[in-house]
């Protein structure tokens, strides 16, 4: 089922066009990466999906429904800039914000204690938010995002400012959400996290879609006909290889336009070379990002 359908959405502020005729969809049970450089229009797009701001034109539907008060309860939103009442106690903060998502107060309190216990934060339930460390506050913010069991979760830069332990905890949380069949939209600058977590991505730049689709397909489309190789022996001059880039524990071979990786492998085996590692190189998403954004700036 389609969780989010964004159709030909445009939004401008004063004289600046923030989002320009943008269309995409997010399916239930997938992790969808929303990426792009700073100022590309990611946050504006998210805010329109959250019904925080209205698009100038175009439509957004959530689980087939037009945005409205009813759809807000189906959404969980972790904003890029975290925000909680600093002087309010942890449990009270969670219960109040959960009640605004349609939960009964006593149910919210019970669920909050469960989640606090699950994340090891139960001993801090009586503390005020400004008494917590940044990492702890982020965990509370994540609990606020998911406590009402939303069907769509939007995480804007969820790993920003987290230490490795909390980053791992957050990654596990994102996997859990997917396992529960929720649609997760992940907006981040950390391309390695996108590669690790996302099924599909949308890259936007200057408010427009520049890359959209299945992550594996996109990466294969951008592969540059190269091989990653670790071997023992002396292969000599390999036919069809135009460039050789040695790295610490592997060599990257760039092939000419006509030679296939299979031909290279056959040649190496024919020469009696011991092949420890042989894989078709795909460019990291980081390189694709730089390439696409760079081209659109030219």
């Amino acid at each position: 089922m389609t969780a989010v359908e964004v159709s030909r959405v445009t939004k401008s502020y004063a004289d600046k066009l923030a989002v320009d005729d943008l269309s995409f969809s997010v399916n239930q049970g997938e992790i969808f990466g929303l990426i792009g450089p700073n100022g590309a229009g990611k946050t504006t797009t998210i805010r329109m999906m959250m019904d925080i701001i209205k698009p100038d034109s175009g439509n957004v539907t959530i689980f087939g429904e037009k945005l409205g008060e009813a759809t807000k309860d189906k959404l969980g939103y972790l904003p890029e800039e975290r925000g909680l009442y600093k002087k309010l106690r942890v449990l009270d903060s969670i219960v109040y914000l959960a009640s605004l998502k349609g939960m009964e107060r006593h149910t919210a309190a019970e669920k909050a204690r469960q989640l606090l216990d699950h994340t090891g934060m139960l001993p801090h339930q009586g503390k005020k938010i400004d008494e917590l460390s940044r990492g702890m506050a982020q965990i509370i913010q994540f609990i606020v995002t998911i406590i009402h069991d939303p069907r769509l979760v939007v995480l804007d830069e969820p790993f920003a400012g987290l230490d490795p332990v909390n980053t791992e905890l957050m990654i596990n949380n994102v996997h859990d959400l997917k396992d529960q069949g929720k649609a997760v939209i992940l907006s981040t600058h950390q391309m390695n996290q996108v590669e690790e977590l996302c099924d599909r991505i949308l890259m936007i730049n200057k408010g427009r879609s520049v890359l959209y689709g299945d992550l594996a397909e996109i990466k294969s489309k951008y592969q540059n006909n190269a091989i990653v190789l670790n071997y023992q022996g002396e292969p000599g001059e390999i036919p069809g290889v135009t460039e050789k880039h040695p790295h610490r524990d592997y060599v990257e071979l760039i092939l000419d336009g006509t030679t296939t990786p299979q031909q290279v492998l056959e040649y190496l085996i024919g020469r009696g070379i011991t092949v420890n590692r042989f894989e078709i190189a795909t460019p990291p998403l980081h390189d694709i990002f730089l390439d696409v954004v760079g081209k659109s700036r030219e």
Binding site: P79, G83, K101
Partner: protein, 405 residues
């Protein structure tokens, strides 16, 4: 519970737990109680000190001013020449002296000499000198009781009649002004505090970026309505505490101070109209403060703007003395209709001269329409600027965006 009610509940509880709110609510009755208590205590344990006798010299160049030289605590001592009187003044035998010139009976002018710098002759001395002069002038010409009557200004006892000629139940005077005066003063402060709470709360939510979480759960209209009603309810609690403590304090004050306080009256319909103006004034300023909060980037900047906006609440107090002198001036009608001054002006006027029914009706209608208009504009401003951080937009830009939206 719907979401507006949830925000209402949160804002109400959050506000009444604020230290500033608790102090503001309790300080009025506590200070009044303290004042009454201290007065009572001082009255019980302290006897007024004996006032020292004072000697004033006089030089009678007109003739005939020989008697009545003892005027209460002031004794008048005769000197033959101004030079002798000056010497007595310089060696502190007298504190000051007067010269009654030969033509006093035709001009009515006397000269007074003193070592002290004064704005005017102190009233007790002026009364003593006046009584000394009139008593001597009238001596032997009229009976003593007439002389005493001349010296005492008449006490004018006012009785207000109704249009049918009966004695009105509401007599006016200072006793009638006291409660509306205090109430409107507290209303002005309460408005300023509430506007500040609204602004601080909203800007903090903006600064904390909590506003995005809130707006992903509720609409702008629900957020603002809940906040305004929550603060309004907290304001009503404040008024309730003051109103409940008022009769008790007035009773205590009457038994302690007597006289003036026992003559205190509440103008007719004051409680109803006081509540109406309190709620409307409150709503108007709090809604406008929300709009200012939306375009402000920090609490300090927002509070400066809110202070500028709430200053006109005090205009009726600045010109309060003119209200006593010219209670029927059209300026007061205008101030009763302009929304920023209407609540305080109307309540004050109720204590001074009363407000015609048509003015009350126009004033309330204009205030209600202004609140609705302010709500409409504020929600639009909030939608546009609540999520904009950084530089505060110029007024021109806000107006242009409002037109475009």
């Amino acid at each position: 519970m719907n979401k507006t009610s949830l925000i209402f509940r949160h804002e109400f509880l959050h506000t009444i737990r604020r230290v500033g709110f608790i102090i503001m609510t309790l300080i009025v009755p506590i200070l009044a109680l303290l004042g009454i208590g201290i007065f009572h205590l001082v009255n019980e344990i302290v006897t007024p000190p004996e006032v020292e006798k004072e000697i004033i010299g006089y030089v009678d160049q007109s003739g005939g001013f020989d008697g009545y030289t003892v005027q209460g605590k002031i004794n008048l001592v005769r000197y033959d020449t101004p030079e002798l009187a000056t010497t007595a003044l310089l060696d502190k035998t007298v504190t000051e002296y007067i010269v009654i010139p030969p033509d006093y009976l035709s001009t009515g002018v006397i000269d007074r000499y003193t070592l002290e710098k004064q704005v005017d002759t102190p009233p007790p001395k002026a009364a003593a000198i006046r009584n000394f002069l009139t008593s001597n002038i009238l001596f032997g010409k009229v009976p003593d009781e007439i002389s005493i009557l001349v010296q005492s200004p008449p006490r004018i006892m006012v009785t207000r009649l109704t249009e049918t000629g009966e004695v009105a139940t509401e007599q006016g005077g200072y006793g009638n002004l006291l409660v509306p005066g205090i109430f409107s003063f507290l209303l002005a402060f309460s408005i300023i505090f509430s506007a500040s709470y609204m602004l601080t709360g909203l800007v903090e939510e903006k600064e904390n970026r909590l506003i995005e979480v809130l707006l992903s759960s509720v609409s702008t209209r629900q957020l603002i309505t809940g906040k305004v009603l929550g603060l309004g309810a907290a304001g009503l609690v404040q008024v309730a505490v003051w109103l409940i403590s008022l009769p008790l304090l007035l009773n205590l004050a009457s038994s302690t101070f007597g006289g003036f306080f026992s003559g205190i009256q509440l103008p007719g319909n004051f409680i109803v109209l006081g509540l109406v103006y309190f709620i409307l004034g409150y709503l108007f300023f709090v809604v406008v403060a929300a709009g200012i909060g939306a375009i402000s980037t920090n609490t300090q900047e927002g509070n400066q703007l809110v202070t500028t906006m709430t200053m006109p609440v005090f205009i009726p107090f600045w010109f309060g003395s003119l209200l006593f002198m010219f209670p029927n001036s059209p300026i007061w009608t205008a101030l009763s209709i302009i929304p920023v001054t209407a609540p305080v002006t109307t309540l004050l006027r109720m204590g001074v001269s009363g407000v015609p029914v048509w003015e009350l009706a126009v004033s309330i209608i204009v205030l209600v329409l202004s609140i609705l208009g302010a709500m409409y504009v504020t929600i639009r401003v909030l939608r546009t600027y609540l999520l904009m951080y950084g530089k505060r937009p110029a007024l021109k830009e806000v107006i242009r965006n409002l037109r475009n939206s």
